[in-house]
């Protein structure tokens, strides 16, 4: 095992330890999607169009995608912005730690938390309104690649956007605003096909819409296709858009990542 990987895994374990000990972070970023699922899962009623699919299951698939974005893009990005602001990054930069180890550590912790978040959402959704894990191996495969591409894209974007807020304190606003808006226009809180077409087009520019769609295709019956605007799961397009966001995010990370505060150079 290379040194960078070994130290990266050690950092991942340390990050998780710090996360668990930071109770407020656990409660907020980890708990929010679960609370949303509980609240809306009991409030929402009815079926999606006349497809016979319980809207709460549609919503659950969306909230799983949203949970991935919460633990990767939002929490991760805010954490990096404040680590930059408080000098944690600068301190690491001053050591011989391989630079890649930092990112490996973040990826390990983001991935672990996403898996845990998803597992809890499945448990809650299953108990309350019969959300079931993927039914066939093919659907498991779909679930797996959508999950991995979604986590990767959102992680890279979280890292890239962490350089935008001027301080650690403004980071929460910078991250939560787009996260909140995307939840409304990507098919989490509302059925995507019911949104005005202009809103659909904006939503389709961002990864969350495609993560939701991919997860629906893995978790919900094909009867739902009648309510999908494209009348198809568009797997090729889901993969393409998410992969494009991964590439874009990676390029942004490599070109804009800073180890120091904005004016400290």
């Amino acid at each position: 095992m290379t040194l960078a990987l070994r130290l990266g895994l050690a950092r991942g374990a340390l990050e998780l330890k710090m996360f668990v000990r930071e109770r407020a972070a656990v409660a907020f970023s980890f708990g929010l999607p679960i609370v949303l699922l509980l609240i809306f899962g009991t409030v929402f009623k009815g079926e999606v169009g006349d497809t016979g699919v319980d809207f709460r299951q549609y919503f659950a698939a969306g909230i799983i995608a949203s949970g991935i974005m919460s633990t990767t893009f939002t929490s991760l990005g805010i954490a990096i912005a404040s680590e930059r602001d408080d000098g944690t990054l600068k301190r690491l930069y001053g050591t011989p730690m391989p630079r890649a180890s930092y990112f490996i550590g973040k990826t390990v912790s983001a991935l672990t938390l996403s898996v845990a978040e998803t597992a809890v959402l499945f448990a809650v959704g299953g108990a309350l309104f019969g959300l079931r894990p993927p039914a066939t191996p093919e659907r498991w495969l779909t679930f797996a690649w959508v999950f991995v591409l979604g986590v990767t894209a959102c992680t890279l974007l979280g890292v890239a956007v962490s350089g935008v807020p001027a301080s650690g304190r403004s980071a929460a606003a910078v991250f939560n605003l787009p996260y909140l808006v995307l939840q409304f226009i990507s098919g989490v809180f509302f059925v995507f096909g019911d949104l005005p077409s202009g809103v659909q087009q904006v939503g389709a520019l961002f990864p969350l819409k495609w993560m939701c769609q991919g997860l629906r295709s893995a978790l919900l019956p094909d009867a739902l296709l009648a309510a999908e605007p494209a009348r198809s799961w568009e797997h090729g397009r889901v993969a393409l858009v998410l992969a494009a966001w991964c590439m874009g995010g990676l390029v942004l990370c490599l070109t804009t990542f800073r180890w120091k505060r904005r004016h400290e150079r």
Partner: protein, 293 residues
């Protein structure tokens, strides 16, 4: 793990650990560092003194590779810090003026983890002991006092067993006892051959630790000398003061011994409240700084 003692002068000749020529750093239209030359020999303890905003941290952070210079030549352990890589970083230790701790980790977790970054680290428990945190080793960093947190910074700076250690106002917030213990720690490192470049506002600290001091103000190096000789201190006129029946008296003289002998004869023995003083490091420092203001 036992520490490697380093010889002060490998190959018989004292090499230069830090060599700086014409260093300049510009922020907007202000020269934070304005043409500084500096040589720190291997194994030397060098202290940078200077008022707030003099450019000490800016200069030191350029040497650490944290900031880019506007102009000048810089060589630190034979490399340009702006381009140096991991191997070079493994040979230096940094205690920044302000820094972050991970409050959720314990002192031991933090020091152990940083040890894993270095190819030949010191023993974490030994380092924790050396900075006086043995009793707090299992406590979370967020629950330490300010001075104790500062000692964590020092521990992280020395955990890699550096050849060259940068300390930017390391003892800020230390109680007097902790400061003395810190001085002993630094003296021990220096004894083993570690080169040390520190900044401080405590002149007694510079006097106790440094082989040489440099005084920097408004980005310029005003003087470099041993603490005893700085600003002509060793050769400055001495002041002999005493009390006679009319009140306190003093004479500034180049030959204080003779004055004391004369006084002794005049008083026929003990001279009341006799004192011979030379300007303190603080006196010469304040005079130098005053000339710049």
């Amino acid at each position: 793990m036992a520490r490697r003692p380093r010889r002060r002068d490998a190959g018989g000749m004292a090499e230069t650990a830090v060599r700086v020529r014409g260093l300049r750093k510009r922020y907007g239209d202000v020269d934070a560092v304005n043409g500084v030359d500096l040589d720190v020999r291997q194994g030397e303890v060098f202290a940078l003194l200077g008022p707030n905003g003099a450019g000490k941290s800016t200069a030191v952070e350029i040497l650490e590779g944290h900031r880019r210079r506007t102009a000048g030549e810089v060589s630190v352990l034979g490399a340009d810090p702006a381009r140096a890589g991991r191997d070079w970083r493994a040979r230096i230790g940094i205690v920044p003026q302000t820094s972050a701790e991970n409050p959720q980790l314990t002192v031991r977790e933090m020091v152990r983890h940083f040890a894993s970054y270095y190819p030949r680290p010191r023993d974490p428990d030994e380092v924790i002991e050396a900075v006086g945190l043995a009793e707090q080793a299992g406590r979370r960093v967020g629950r330490l006092s300010g001075g104790q947190r500062r000692r964590v910074d020092v521990a992280l700076g020395i955990i890699g067993d550096p050849e060259l250690l940068f300390l930017d106002e390391p003892t800020t917030g230390f109680d007097p006892d902790a400061r003395r213990r810190f001085w002993e720690l630094i003296q021990g490192l220096a004894h083993d051959g570690t080169t040390i470049l520190l900044t401080t506002h405590y002149l007694d600290e510079a006097e106790a630790l440094a082989d040489r001091v440099g005084v920097i103000a408004a980005g310029r190096m005003l003087a470099v000398d041993t603490p005893a000789r700085l600003g002509g201190r060793a050769t400055a006129t001495a002041r002999v003061s005493w009390r006679d029946p009319d009140g306190p008296r003093h004479i500034d003289t180049a030959s204080p011994t003779q004055v004391v002998a004369e006084l002794s004869a005049k008083f026929g023995g003990e001279v009341p409240e006799l004192a011979v003083t030379r300007p303190s490091l603080e006196d010469v420092y304040l005079e130098m700084i005053g000339a710049v203001r």
